[in-house]
Symmetry: C2
Subunit: 215 residues, 2 copies
């Protein structure tokens, strides 16, 4: 029937809510998502930036223009950033408005980003990223150039300070509401990769690219 994790851990302070720490859960959520939300500050103001991420071992990586805020800022400032990765899985429809909820998987990471400057390592990481997005595609592409590697900033944080929250369960109603005459249950959110839309300037149609397991 699914689970609602309510145990907790992590070195992270949390609200009065479902929370749990389990490294494999964290890694699965990281690998199951293409996009994270990076929180950082500049001159005291919080910024949240959506960013594509990938993982290599115990490190979470992201890239961007070498001058972009989400790449340059936190490294220069030695700031401990916060990254949240969330996947909405379903709507939990209860008998009362109060007990409505969502099924979801979420991991929150904290760490001081480290910039990677070595060109060879950068290229290796970009290949790992592309392997996540489209397995086997890297070797089919026009090879990456030194200029492109230089123009792209690469940063990472170690995955060690993390908090997992997830809900995967039917509604939990007050017992006295169980017979209330309204439908109750979960409506799942389904995601899939659709049919590839070939670039209109492409003359010959090749097999479309492979799709990721992440969303």
């Amino acid at each position: 029937m699914g689970t609602t994790l309510e145990t907790s851990l992590s070195k992270v302070k949390r609200g009065p809510n479902r929370a749990s720490y389990d490294k494999q859960h964290a890694l699965d959520i990281i690998d199951g998502a293409l996009m994270c939300h990076l929180g950082q500050t500049k001159d005291g103001q919080v910024f949240v930036t959506p960013t594509c991420h990938w993982r290599d071992g115990d490190y979470l990586y992201w890239h961007g223009h070498s001058k972009a805020r989400n790449v340059k800022g936190p490294v220069d400032d030695m700031e401990k950033v916060c990254i949240n990765i969330s996947l909405l899985d379903g709507l939990v429809m209860a008998r009362s408005a109060f007990h409505h909820s969502v099924n979801y998987r979420s991991v929150t990471l904290f760490g001081v980003p480290e910039r990677i400057d070595d060109a060879q390592e950068k290229q290796r990481q970009f290949e790992i990223f592309l392997e996540k997005v489209s397995p086997g595609r890297w070797s089919q592409l026009r090879p990456i150039t030194d200029t492109e590697i230089k123009a792209t900033g690469l940063v990472r944080i170690k995955i060690e300070e993390a908090s997992v929250k997830l809900r995967d369960a039917p509604p939990i109603d007050d017992p006295e509401d169980h017979d209330w005459s309204v439908w109750a249950g979960v409506i799942p959110l389904e995601r899939q990769w659709g049919e590839g839309q070939t670039d209109p300037i492409q003359q010959i149609e090749y097999p479309p690219a492979t799709t990721p397991k992440a969303f």
Copy 2:
């Protein structure tokens, strides 16, 4: 063929990237998503929290346990929070790794949250939220109680400082790569609400709940 908005505005500082401001775009993105990412600070540390949101006119609302960080914190501290709402729409597969991208819609909002304490207004907002999640459902539910209203914190920010970014276009490759023999195009991410999974403790099956237009 779709568009890549590259014009800009907003009172918000941005990276060297696609950016635009158009209020209707911002409202459409807000209404098209169920979940936002709220950035706030506590004792100098950034936190990013995924939160369901809804809109009433020019205000963005969210709720939570009245003692939860994302409800209590920013109001008490008079902090200007940052909220990002993003929808991933597709993978942009180019002929070079460098020109790979994603199609997406994203709005970033800034504001000092304001708490709503009036019980009648809180109830009205929770009804607007439920109308977004499942049109017509509110009147079918076991009515909300005063205790439930009290236990639920409600906050809002005015939608006035906003930055929209979106990409909706085929790959943009270097002209000399156009004949490179690899498939190039866009792979769309498709989302839909699946078949309702009736609560196993429910004895009678009613018609499942209506689904939202947002994801």
